[in-house]
């Protein structure tokens, strides 16, 4: 009787995930908990980190059927791998974004290109480390600090690295308030950081409406490989700016964006399974991503300083670091660092210009890369 009970319990135990539990699961669960804690305690991108962290914890419970075909996490991940979610995120971002600062000061758009040196330094470094040119390209795009774009490029160029790349891109975007300021301070003097910017002009409604239409046509004409993302970004923005489709713009910016974000969080978190994630390649991708972010931040600041050599009216070089995409996190970091040296120097609106240009910079870099690698 006692033996039978024991064997019954042993058989039951084998059917649970307990028998398959190993140290890797514990490590990844701890990573998930750390993400949630960072979101709660430090307020680092809670909309991303709470969902990703939770999905990471659950995905590392052995025996869960959520990751198998037909499972909740599996289906959410299909949205990423089939490139449905990234354009929807861009749609929501477009509907939420005021491109006014970029339209008001067009000369700052060049910073959107300057801050992308990190992409190429990471690309070459990844190739030197032995990754294929396609994997290196996908890893490099992490430096663009644009989550949906990083996912888009990873699916196109290196689907096997999608978990590592998406986790690196979103984690570093969330950690930008920690990564960027030391680089920004190292490359600027206090006097430079205290440069105040002139108030921007008012942008007319006609300009705001024409902008998404013109850019939508241009990108489809010149860079079809990244057209799905930019087209959706521009459509969302058009819905916002024409006013008469306010209901659709509100849906895109709130309901659609929130649902997509939840699915994206779950999809990314679910890829952080110990046996696939705890590899040396992950460490390399994470290190290269961090390197790309730091180089991109630095090249943006240096780009702004170079512009100051030819501009009559000097710009605050901190704006260069906002040229890395990641709207509006990079612009917020720029504004925060400027406020630390001068509590009355409000740069947030001006920083949004290069920050928005950074979205185009990353998309252009990715589009050109896809065209050259075809």
């Amino acid at each position: 009787m006692f033996d039978q009970t024991l064997s019954f319990l042993a058989a039951l135990g084998e059917q649970t995930g307990l028998a398959q539990f190993y140290w890797g699961n514990v490590v990844m669960m701890a990573v998930g908990v750390a993400m949630i804690l960072l979101a709660i305690v430090k307020k680092y991108e809670p909309l991303l980190l709470v969902g990703i962290g939770f999905a990471c914890i659950i995905a590392n419970v052995p025996g869960s059927s959520l990751l198998e075909p037909g499972g909740l996490f599996y289906d959410a991940y299909l949205g990423v791998s089939m490139l449905i979610l990234p354009p929807l995120i861009f749609f929501g971002v477009g509907a939420m974004t005021d491109f006014g600062p970029m339209l008001a000061n067009p000369k700052l758009v060049i910073l959107g290109a300057a801050a992308h040196l990190g992409i190429f330094v990471a690309l070459i470094s990844a190739k030197l480390l032995g990754f294929s040119i396609y994997e290196a390209g996908a890893i490099g795009i992490i430096g663009g600090a644009d989550g949906p774009m990083a996912i888009f490029m990873a699916v196109k160029l290196a689907p096997k690295l999608l978990p590592q790349i998406s986790v690196a891109a979103y984690s570093y975007m969330a950690l930008m308030p920690l990564i960027q300021p030391p680089v920004m301070r190292m490359l600027t003097t206090k006097k430079e950081r205290m440069i105040r910017m002139r108030q921007l002009r008012v942008v007319s409604r006609l300009e705001r409406i024409a902008f998404p239409i013109v850019v939508g046509v241009l990108i489809n004409l010149l860079l079809p490989p990244v057209a799905p993302l930019i087209t959706m970004l521009m459509m969302g923005n058009l819905f916002k700016e024409v006013i008469v489709t306010d209901r659709l713009a509100q849906a895109a910016a709130n309901t659609i964006m929130n649902v997509t974000l939840i699915l994206l969080d779950v999809a990314i978190g679910s890829t952080m399974v110990a046996d696939k994630f705890l590899t040396f390649a992950t460490i390399e991708v994470l290190a290269l991503g961090l390197f790309a972010f730091m180089i991109g931040t630095g090249s943006g600041v240096i780009g702004a300083k170079l512009m100051n050599l030819v501009l009559k009216e000097k710009i605050n070089p901190l704006l260069g670091s906002a040229g890395i995409a990641s709207v509006p996190i990079a612009a917020r970091v720029t504004a925060t660092v400027a406020l630390q040296d001068d509590p009355e120097n409000f740069l947030i609106y001006q920083a949004m210009g290069p920050n928005l240009a950074g979205v185009f910079g990353t998309a252009l870099s990715g589009g050109i890369m896809l065209a050259l690698l075809k």
Partner: protein, 50 residues
């Protein structure tokens, strides 16, 4: 041409970075021209909101 080489990675990076500058400068130029649209007329936002 074998694309999977470090040399190609460097060439790709240089071309991409340069073209990115050119294209984004082009976008900047077009954006700066948009303000001249206002010379052709203005939209009445109050009417649009009705």
């Amino acid at each position: 041409m074998n694309k999977d080489t470090t040399t190609f990675a460097i060439i790709l990076s240089v071309i991409d970075f340069f073209l990115c500058f050119v294209m984004i400068a082009g976008i900047g130029l077009i954006i700066s021209l948009l303000r001249y649209l206002d010379k052709f007329g203005k939209l009445d936002e109050d009417k649009m909101r009705m």
